[in-house]
Amino acid sequence: MVVLGGIAFAQYNSSNYKANEVFFGAGGDTNQSSANYKASASAGALGVGQTSSANYQAYSGFLTPNEPFLEMVIDTPTVDLGTLDTSITKTGTASFHVRAYIDSGYTVQTMSQPPSYTSGSQSHTLTAMSTLGSPAVGTEQFGINLVANTSPAGFGSDPSPQPNGTFANGLAAAGYNTPNQFKYVPGDTIVQTPAGSSGWGLTNYTISYIADTSAFTPAGSYKMIHDLVVVATF
């Protein structure tokens, strides 16, 4: 019986061999691909998935991560809310995804200040919705959430684990997970994996933006480089 202490890599290697995603038995393929798709698959495995208690968590089955992995990609590089109007709330969406194989979950934080403009020596930043609330027409404000909304329009989507919730577990964070309610605080966590669970698999996220303007919001072109930071804990 071999008992390993300290670091134990799920990937096996020595100076003479290396094996990634070791698979024993029939029904598994860690790299299925064609011109149009690529996938890892297993079949006939019992107890595939994650299990945990207060003191441990583990993955079983044929699909397990071979090393810490993290990926975050912005899928929509630009979102344009158009010309803001004192009589209607303007909306827009942008999407990104996080793919992770890690131990203790991940979060995504929004780091940017709201959209701003500068003209000469003057600049102005749209007022951020510091508390969760509904859009108010005629009041200058900027907010986001990460769920499907029906008001002020049908827009946005709930986080979408791929292909379903069995394989990924990203969620919209508190404050950003209430339909038709918006908020924006720079530095806030907008995405998280469930407490006590792992960040696992691929989840697609849609950011829903809203903006309103008042009668004396300074005219100009407003821009925000939306700085999103993923923080993974291993």
């Binding site: 670091i7 810490p68 979102v79 009668a215 300074p218 291993f234």
Partner: protein, 454 residues
């Protein structure tokens, strides 16, 4: 027993040799792996928080949070050691950051260009802070674009508790939508020699997500007349109009002039229409809006822009016998019977302002002097007292530029917030004749201009 001969026998011997080799390798494996595992403890609950995920951003702060391996919980229990030096190695893969891994540095990432500097630390045992080591130790930790060395002299034994350490002015990798991994190595000595713990963290820089919006330029500017002669915004009766759609009137009549008095609008006697002039402005110009006037040049000869009988011939200089009432020029206090014509901004009426509350001073109405509105009368057109002590009235006298030159009478450019919501300038006109001023119907015509700067 069955005897194997020839080729079958050779294959069987090879098979036995192979089996023996596998068994030998399997027997040796625990030695190799346990030796490797014993060299480092696993850092737990480790994460890397970067202050910006924008590719290539400089001045980024990298904050590492982690818990050291708990040797006291090992079997048999060990002891915790000091941590006096740290090595951070950034790679494109997690395995590359592992001890002995082949590391490819993330493109563009740079610990040295800033160069990275110690930011802060929390949760460490021992009072001495780490500092970035720009020299390092050859063969142990050599600073590079993807390698950061830090050290301190503090032999305090650590505990298996969470701690943080941050470094500022790091340059992010430049490849958009790419993850990078940073291995954290702890050493009990200050020379990167005795490695205690290791763990890899990850972060990512992502393609820039740009959110755009536009706010259209707004200007509503109107001029008219009003019977309102006050700026007390708490009195609803002082509402001139909610916005420009409610402003009307094209003239102000200050009645028949008399040498014994100064006719100051509103004049309700001797033919006066009891009205002031008003100029209301709404603008979302971020750099403010300026209101100016210019005297329309009427027909006749000389002094075409002052209060005059249209078409008449006036003297070149300021005489008291022609059909042109002498323009005040710069602001001056009139004397009854000394021919003069002028205008001033008596105050700012904000009863139509809804986006914010403001008040122009009116000490006669027990309103403190000063002006919290965004528009401010220009120097020379402040009706009473001075800027900052604004008071509704005309105590400073009147001014009038008769040659048609555009002259500023108010602006929001000096206000902290320069946008204006339906603030109304109350314009007071005044005139007095001399005893030789010819009788007749006198008029002055004025253009008003608003110039917003967006």
């Amino acid at each position: 027993m069955k005897k194997r001969t020839g080729i079958r026998s050779k294959f069987y011997r090879l098979y036995l040799v192979a089996v023996a080799a596998v068994l030998i390798a399997a027997g040796a494996m625990p030695v190799f792996l346990s030796g490797h595992a014993a060299a480092y403890g696993q850092i737990l609950n480790r994460s890397l928080n970067i202050s910006s995920g924008v590719p290539g951003n400089t001045n980024v702060t990298y904050t590492f949070t982690f818990t050291l391996h708990d040797y006291t919980a090992d079997t048999p229990p060990g002891s915790m050691s000091a941590v006096q030096s740290l090595k951070f190695v950034a790679c494109t893969t997690a395995v590359g950051a592992y001890p002995g891994g082949t590391c490819t540095a993330p493109t563009g990432m740079d610990f040295t260009s800033g160069p990275a500097a110690f930011g802060s630390q929390t949760g460490w045992q021992g009072a001495t802070n780490f500092a970035v080591d720009a020299v390092g130790v050859a063969g142990k930790c050599v600073p590079a674009a993807n390698v950061l060395c830090a050290k301190r002299t503090d032999v305090t034994a650590q505990t298996a508790t969470s701690r943080t350490i941050s470094f500022t002015t790091v340059k992010n990798p430049t490849t958009a939508n790419s993850a990078f991994y940073i291995g954290i190595y702890t050493f009990s000595d200050a020379g990167y020699a005795t490695n205690v713990d290791f763990g890899a963290t990850a972060s990512a820089v992502v393609q820039t997500l740009t959110t755009n919006a536009a706010v259209a330029e707004v200007l509503q500017f109107c001029v008219g007349s009003t019977t309102v002669n006050d700026v007390d915004s708490s009195n609803p009766a002082n509402l001139i109009a909610n916005d420009c759609s409610g402003v009307s009137g094209t003239s102000v009549d200050i009645g028949t002039l008399d040498t014994s008095a100064i006719n100051i609008s509103p004049v309700s006697t001797n033919g006066g229409d009891n009205k002031n002039g008003v100029a209301m402005v709404r603008s979302n110009a971020g750099n403010g809006v300026v209101v100016a006037y210019d005297a329309i040049q009427q027909s006749g000869t000389n002094h075409l822009g002052t209060l005059r009988i249209s078409g008449s011939s006036c003297d070149p200089g300021n005489t008291l016998t022609d059909s042109c009432i002498n323009a005040a020029g710069a602001q001056t206090v009139f004397t009854p019977g000394t021919e003069s014509f002028g205008m001033t901004v008596a105050g700012i009426n904000s009863n139509g302002t809804t986006s914010y509350a403001c008040q122009y001073g009116d000490t006669a109405q027990s309103l403190a002097a000063g002006n919290t509105c965004h528009m401010e009368p220009a120097s020379g057109y402040v009706g009473q007292t001075t800027t900052g002590l604004d008071d509704f009235g005309t105590g400073n006298g009147f001014a009038w530029v008769e040659n048609g030159t555009a002259t500023n009478i108010a602006s929001s450019a000096a206000s902290t917030v320069k946008q204006v919501d339906d603030e109304a300038l109350i314009l007071k006109f005044a005139a007095t004749p001399s005893i030789t001023t010819p009788f007749g119907r006198y008029a002055a015509q004025t253009d008003f201009i608003a110039v917003p700067t967006y």
